[in-house]
Each structure stands twice: as C-alpha cells, then as structure tokens.
C-alpha cells in the first residue's frame, strides 16, 4: 500500500512556486489510478516526489508512506533499494529518457544488475524476454540497437519494460503516451494492461488513455485535486465543472469548449487571492467561489466544488 498523505511541493526560487498543493491519494495493492490534468498542473511533480527525484530546491511537505514507512525521511541507501526494486518510475519516453550511448538491451536490464545481482549478459537475456512480453518484435536485434533507432512508441514500451525489470510492486508512469498516435497509444495501453498484479499510478493528459488503463481517476487542476472517483463514473458522469470541460473538449466528443479564460500562470497560486482556482474559467461559478472550497464527499466520490456542499 502506498499512501500519499497531504503532500505539498514548493520550489524555492525568486518567486515561490507551489506545484503540488495538499494532495492525498491512497493506493492499495493492485489498484490502478490515473492522474489527469493539463501541463503544469503538478501531476509529474507529484510522481517525482514519491521517488524523491525532485531538484534540490524542492520543499516537500506531508507524508508518502510505503507500507507504513515514510519515504520522505528515508536515507539514500534505502531509497536506492526502493527505486526500481519496490517502486519504479517510468519517465516520459522522449529523447532524453534513455542513455544514447548504451544499447537498449543493457539499459532495459540494468535494474536487474542493480537490484538482483544479475551479470551483464544475464541482464541482456532477461531484457530480451521482457521486450518479448510486450511484443516489440525482433527483440534480439532491438537489444543490440541504440535508443535513437527506436520510434517514440517503441521507446515508450521499452521504458515500461525497464520499469518492471526488477519486479517492483508499484509502477509510476509519467505521460507514457505523450505525442504518440492512436495506434501506438493502444499498444502502450496494452503493455500496461499486461501488468496484472502491480499497483499502477499513471500520469496523463489523455482522458481516454486514462480510462483504458485505470480503475480510478484523480483530476488535478492548478496543483490541487479537484475530483477523484471510479474511471467509469468520471467519464460518464463527471461532477467537477473542470472535469466536465475536459470531457466535452475531447475530439471524440466534438471539441466542445468555449473559451472562458486561460489557466492562471502555472505555479503562481501563492500570489493569487484565495478561492476556487477554476472560478475564472468556470461556467457554473457562484458568489461562494471566492472562498476556496473544501473536498466534499458525494456518494464515495470526492469533489472540490461548492456545488456539492450538502449544507446548501
């Protein structure tokens, strides 16, 4: 069980930037959760805070508990064991995510050398069978190739293979389909769905991909969680006005969205007045929205919007 408990992340720079604002998510073993939100909403920063890979000027508050152990106070040695061994972070498959000088077979198998004392050749063998599991095709040849010869979709699936190499129980995937076309998005979703036992926390801006790989969806806006619920419920009957706007704006739903305004400059919420952060863009705002709404419970679903205040 991984428990994210009131986690906030702030970057100490000239102007303080609040990237994650008091997020709590419980991930029981075997759960599959997607975090959906626009770029700059803080979702990737939240993932990185779990494996403690944030830059030095990041200040993380709250607790991140792995079976009761607070990872935020774990020492370097313990973190090395956790990363890749228990909790695996799969970065975006863009150009910078693999070492261009190392062959893919070695890179995919490297977690086994680090965590399971495999020899180099054993690790390459294992990485071939891992890639076979994800049907990358021609896996022996791929293992001897360098990352630049891979397409974006192949690289992303190789990254997932690398992520699960050492048998972690929890997979954190960061935008695994960004920029990929529909066919390749489906291939990545298939690869992720092959992982049956692992706990999944996947960050994406693609709502249909989120639905394809997750059972629960957490919607983030401007560093906060605005809605949490079962994926089906969110897709069919979203509660928060922002979630509804996302769903209506999807191409398959006709790209229905009339500009009301743009998001506040990302990370600048500390300088903004209190109140609901979506209110400038919200079609359903009321006078109450100048006060920050708490998270309301609506039949087991969570939503941060005054519309669901039962005191109404």
């Amino acid at each position: 069980m991984l428990e994210i408990n009131h986690v906030s992340v702030e970057f100490a720079s000239e102007n303080r930037v609040l990237a994650v604002d008091d997020i709590s998510i419980r991930l029981p073993d075997g759960s599959r959760t997607a975090i959906v939100g626009e770029t700059g909403s803080g979702k990737s920063v939240l993932l990185l805070s779990i494996v403690r890979l944030l830059p030095r000027n990041a200040i993380v508050r709250g607790k991140i508990e792995l079976d009761g152990e607070n990872l935020l106070s774990a020492d370097k040695k313990r973190l090395q064991q956790v990363r890749g061994g228990v909790v695996s972070y799969v970065p975006q498959g863009g150009g910078a995510s693999m070492n261009p000088l190392l062959k893919v077979g070695y890179q995919v198998g490297e977690p086994l050398i680090e965590h399971k004392n495999y020899s180099r050749s054993q690790a390459v063998e294992a990485s071939i069978s891992l890639m076979k599991r994800f049907n990358l095709l021609n896996e022996e040849k791929l293992a001897r190739s360098y990352p630049h010869t891979f397409s974006g979709g192949m690289r992303q699936r190789a990254m997932v293979a690398m992520g699960i190499a050492a048998g972690p129980r929890i997979i954190l995937a960061d935008e695994p389909t960004k920029g990929l076309d529909d066919k390749r998005v489906r291939l990545v979703a298939d690869s992720i769905n092959m992982l049956k036992e692992e706990t999944l926390l996947c960050v994406t801006h693609d709502m249909s991909f989120a639905q394809a790989v997750s059972r629960d969806i957490c919607v983030m806006y401007a560093a906060q969680q605005v809605e949490f619920g079962k994926s089906e419920e969110i897709l069919n009957d979203a509660l928060h006005p922002y979630t509804r706007d996302i769903i209506n704006a999807m191409p398959e739903n006709g790209m229905r969205y009339d500009d009301v305004g743009f998001a506040p400059a990302h990370g600048s919420y500390l300088n903004h007045s209190d109140g609901c952060r979506y209110r400038d863009r919200c079609r359903e705002r009321s006078e109450k929205c100048v006060i920050m709404p708490p998270v309301f419970d609506v039949n087991g679903r969570k939503v941060r919007c005054w519309k669901y205040d039962s005191a109404n």
Binding site: T39, I246, H266, N271
Partner: protein, 227 residues
Amino acid sequence: MILQTEKLTYKYPNSHGHTAVDQADISLHKGETVGLFGESGSGKSTLGLILAGLIKPTSGMLRHNGEKISAPYKGAHRRGIQILFQHPEISFNPALILLKSMTEPYNIYALPYSYSSLLEYLKHYGLYEEHLYRTPAQLSGGELQRAALARILAIQPEVIVLDEPTSMLDVITQVQIMNILKDYQSKNNVSYILISHNRILCEKMCGRIYKVENGVFTEEYGRPTDK
C-alpha cells in the same frame, strides 16, 4: 494558389535510400486549412519541414504565390511561411526570459511595438506580465505553445505549417489553440497546413485532407468541407 508542390521528394541521406516524401503534389489556397493526416513515421512532418524551408527536397518543385522557391527562403517568402512545432520548448532560447523572445519578431522585421502594446496583444493568448519574466523552463507546455503561436502571428504570415501543434497538450488547451487559429484565419485569411495523427481533429479543422502513408500523399475526396 498560395503554395503548390510538384513531385516533391525527400530521400534521407545514408539511410538505405529510404524515401520519406515520395513525389508529393499538394496545393494550398488562400484562407484554407489543409490537413496532412497519417501515422508517425509516414513522412508528413518531413514535408512540413520542406514547406517551411528548413530542409531541402531531394527533387521536385515548390511554388509560393506562383514563384519558384527553395530553402533557405529570403524576404517575403521567409516571413510569409512560418512553422509551429510540436515541442514548443525547441522554439525558445532556454536562457532568455519570455519578454526577450517575444520582442524578437518586432526587432527582426522592424515592426513598431511598445511594452504596453505587447502586453495588450499577449492578453488574447492568455499570457500576462508575470509570464514575461520567466524562462521557458518555468512555463507550462500550453503557455509556451500559446507564446510560440503569438510570436508567429505577430509577423502576419500568409502560411503556417502546424506540425502536431497540440499533441503534447491537454484537450482544453488544444481547443483553445484551435480557436485562436480559427479566429485569426477568419480575420486575416491566412492558410494553414495542419499535420496531425488525429483524424477527428483533422476533420474538424480542415477543408481538405491528404492521407499520408509511407511518404505517399493522397488527397481524400468526397468529404464534407464545412469546418
């Protein structure tokens, strides 16, 4: 006809003669949006780079307003044909604050502007004074892409090649960018080439679509042309 290609071909040097663009004949009229739709690797972005004058075709011809042109473009061709990339961060110098990047087109083309007129202009793109003093790394993907678009539109081009302009962005930002583009087109009669792997997006935005497979560009007929 604002842009027209004749048997435009691009072969990668040293890649076993792989033909990325195979004798493409495409045309673009004033004020229209034409889609290049295909999977990744089909050659649509390579054609986009050729049209924008960033790479030279191996063979074939390209005309802008009837005039034969070849890369690197000069004068009116250079200003007239612009490209918006999929990854907005590569369009910006990472060391410069946004203000410096946004004033570049005005300085290059000696266009009049003032700090307050720039602020007023950028408002339409959801960019405000606080954005101007940040470096690209401190801006979100959506903010950067809107800034890249604002910078292109500041010089009033005739043609913009839109290379997967929203595939890295969330759906709301995607609609916002498409709305900015449509609005600008209706006022300025600019032409767009939209490169996308998303069929629904292409159909929504484009009057005509070329389907791209293995470097072959085929115009699709019999589609409704309303936008």
